[in-house]
Symmetry: C2
Subunit: 215 residues, 2 copies
DNA sequence: CAAACTCAATCAATCGTTTGATTAATTTTG
DNA sequence: CAAAATTAATCAAACGATTGATTGAGTTTG
């Protein structure tokens, strides 16, 4: 049946995503992945051509859902620049914490000096979001919602960096926060709203204050 | 000669640090490392026992320099909490951008679910800095330098996360900033001061403003 | 000379991939 | 309809290549 085939491929991709994110591309053997997924080793090549093909397929599957999310917020003329940024933060915190282990994959791949093609593709995808936020920040400066001398590029680094730090280094951030951040209940009910509130207060304080240059 | 021996070991460690940070632990073969370092493959095992021993030796070498840096800032009674935090930021930005590729190593290792012993050791080392900053923040709240309702834990995530984001994802941050951040001149003369100024303004705005809870 | 060092050659183990056979379901044919 | 042919899916086994590690013979050094 066609449905079963798709389900099986999807199951392999689910397992592979987890194993790759735990062990890295080189650390995860095809035997481990196929074993974990409960399928014969040869099926990986049968379905995805190669180990790298499997790796790429994981990304292909996720890309679509990444593209469209922030798309229309920037063009909404009815809300202020601050509200747009606020919406972006909400979306981003929600989305990223769901795609937990995929985020780890993306981030590790970006730190590698291998597989340039994939690195470039990921970079391109992430830049869509970066540009979207940059646009909102610039617009906010122009219409004086935000202070004129903000450092927009580094604000972007803070937005993405803060979230990445929490998610990608769970050992450290769990110690800092005093909870296991891999506990889904804590994540959903406490951490997510807390990060949202914090990010908004942090950025509001910075963006909407006059940072005079006379030190 | 004893000097030559140490120099050679250090040279191997330098090369290995670079190769590991580019290719990951599993992606970097002992042949690649020894070839890059211009030494016989067997030397790696002769000096460091094993591939993992070599990997650990890279960390051992760096640990000492990491420990002592922030140590005494927190205990200085003559400066304000804000100045302490300010000093921490300076130290941190300076140090971390120098140890560029070692940071990538640390960060990738923290995202892995392998080599628990090393992960725990790294976590422990990083926590020294975390606790130091936490202490400063708490003290600042107590003596009313900082607002009473700040989110100290997430401030820490912002400090480390912002810097990590810039350094660990050079492809993306180079695009954002419009310069190749691996260009040492740009890094030293432009980016470093810029990050310092930005971080201080960002944190000052947040920490020294009343974040009322009514919305 | 003895200890420390260096090397090419080699080891077993594991890697990603391919193979050829087998099964089961579908389509074509007489 | 029933037999034959075709197809996709699955498997155990094996492939060559590469891995980290070791060997034992040679060289250098103090």
């Amino acid at each position: 049946m066609d449905k079963d085939k798709i389900d099986k491929k999807d199951h392999i991709l689910d397992v592979a995503e987890k194993v790759f994110s735990d062990l890295g591309f080189d650390g995860a053997s095809t035997r481990t992945i196929s074993g974990e997924a409960g399928v014969n080793m040869a099926m990986l090549n049968y379905y995805f051509g190669s180990k790298e093909g499997l790796f790429l397929a994981i990304f292909e599957r996720k890309i679509a859902s990444f593209q469209t999310l922030l798309q229309n917020i920037g063009n909404d003329e009815t809300i202020t620049s601050w509200d747009k940024l606020s919406k972006c933060i909400d979306n981003y915190v929600d989305r990223i914490i769901v795609n937990n282990c995929f985020q780890k994959l993306i981030n590790r791949e970006l730190t590698m000096s291998k597989r340039w093609e994939l690195t470039d593709k990921i970079t391109q995808i992430l830049m869509v979001n970066v540009i979207e936020i940059k646009k909102i920040l610039d617009e906010g400066v122009k219409n004086k919602t935000f202070a004129k001398n903000i450092d927009a590029e580094l604000v972007i680094a803070t937005i993405f960096g803060t979230k990445n730090y929490i998610i990608n280094t769970p050992h450290v951030s769990s110690l800092i926060l005093g909870h296991d951040i891999r506990d889904e209940k804590y994540l959903e009910e406490e951490l997510k709203p807390r990060v949202k509130i914090y990010m908004k207060r942090l950025l509001q304080a910075y963006l909407m204050k006059d940072n005079d240059n006379s030190k």
